[in-house]
Homo-oligomer: 243 residues x 2
DNA sequence: CAGTGGTCTAGACCACGGG
DNA sequence: CCGTGGTCTAGACCACTGG
């Protein structure tokens, strides 16, 4: 099966590390090379193989660690909330506001949101973390009529979902979304703390208030594929539905 | 920006190959090493960087070529047809039946399809190609009451969508689906002609007949991420909808 | 058969992060 | 400062593909 040295080493290491909890430190390149009696290139190839399979995370100057990766379910049935989704995966969420400014709504945003182009709108740029590791970055467009004092509310909570529930009396839900896996541009990679060309999700979503159907905000976010295992699902359950 | 040799070479090559049509042959490792006056490891790293960004495709014993990658839109508004979707991307589709047998419907299939467990059902295993490159593999479960003679119909056409339209008088549409990006198991990778651990999409979908709402079949397919750029979208247009 | 990418050695120097 | 992973050389042999 694995006729090469580095694959045999990789298979050996897989069996060892699958037992360990996420974030555990494992052997580095030099140690693997010494333990298996191979050159550093072979040891390196083995660890890169594990990295490619998203089983380990390697950081220069620090070491090699078993991967932390969370499941992130995007569905109309799930609330569009970073903090809730991350906590559901037993990890710690955090979101940091990078910019929040009120601007005239651009036409490409006004169209989906059903507002007048040029009407006042909050442009919110944020980064989100899983266990303090950068995982998500993007922009939300919130019409001012939804919540005039968004900037003030962000001082009290970093969850947009929570703010809209508590300060705007809304119940957000994903009304429409689109997702694709891309290769990160240099700019996107910089925000995500990854490298240009690394795989990243682009998730666009339009969110509405459940009871009223009023459109609340438009979201445009990048997620690191090595940190977030995205699962995308249409609403409802797979099965016979009423006519 | 790119302080290393291999990144500079990679950037240089990116500018050259973005002008070329897909499938064009480009320089190999030895040529790149000679042209840029570096060792083979640096040349190799540069070409691997392009491969990681899905810009080139490398085959041992053959050479390095600019990538062919098609857009594959999964949406309730798009027909669930491999051949239609691939042709829409200006490529040649082909599907090969590996197995087609009539079996009692397993419970996990009967549930979503709203049939009795154990009722007769076609279990259809197929591989699909883009421009003769393996790209997709999976299973479809078609209740026998939808089309008793599925095996016969497959002799005339390799498109399940077309068969259902012409022989069963149905208009298939995706009623529900779920998608996630996984690392291929050894078995899946073998069917896709890729390597274990390579990224692959798992797309499950439940398809119905548009006018009647009758559930037609359940699909469970793997797609090579380096061949298919999957875009997943909910139905409808992003914008204000009628109440 | 010649040419391709895949693997591997035995070195070397470097950039980075933490104590 | 030391250890980490990142880069790189100059070789070598191999497996695979195509003509």
């Amino acid at each position: 099966m694995a006729a090469t040295k580095f694959r045999e080493i990789a298979e050996h290491l897989v069996r060892e590390i699958t037992l360990l909890p996420p974030g555990s430190r494992i052997e580095g390149e030099h140690e693997v090379a010494a333990r298996f009696g191979v050159g550093r290139a072979a040891a390196r190839a083995a660890l890169q193989e594990l990295e490619r399979r998203l089983l380990v995370c390697r950081v220069r100057g620090v070491g090699t660690f078993t991967a932390r990766r969370i499941d992130y379910l995007v569905s109309p049935d799930q609330p569009p909330s970073w903090s809730r989704t991350v906590r559901a995966a037993h990890s710690r969420p955090r979101t940091v506001v990078r910019r929040c400014e009120t601007v005239p709504m651009p036409p490409e945003v006004a169209g989906p949101l059903g507002r007048e182009p040029g009407s006042p709108c909050h442009r919110l740029q944020r980064r989100s973390f899983v266990d303090e590791l950068p995982a998500c970055w993007g922009t939300e467009w919130v019409p001012a009529d939804v919540l005039p004092e968004l900037g003030v509310a962000l001082g009290a909570s970093d969850s947009l979902d929570r703010i809209l529930r508590e300060s705007a009396g809304a119940t957000p839900r994903r009304a429409w979304w689109r997702a694709a896996l891309e290769c990160a541009s240099a700019e996107t990679a910089a925000e995500l703390g990854s490298r240009a060309g690394d795989p990243a999700w682009l998730v666009e979503s339009l969110n509405e208030d459940v009871p009223s159907g009023r459109l609340l905000y438009l979201s445009h976010r990048w997620l690191r594929a090595d940190t977030v295992r995205l699962v995308l699902e249409t609403g409802g359950t797979p099965g016979p539905r009423p006519a």
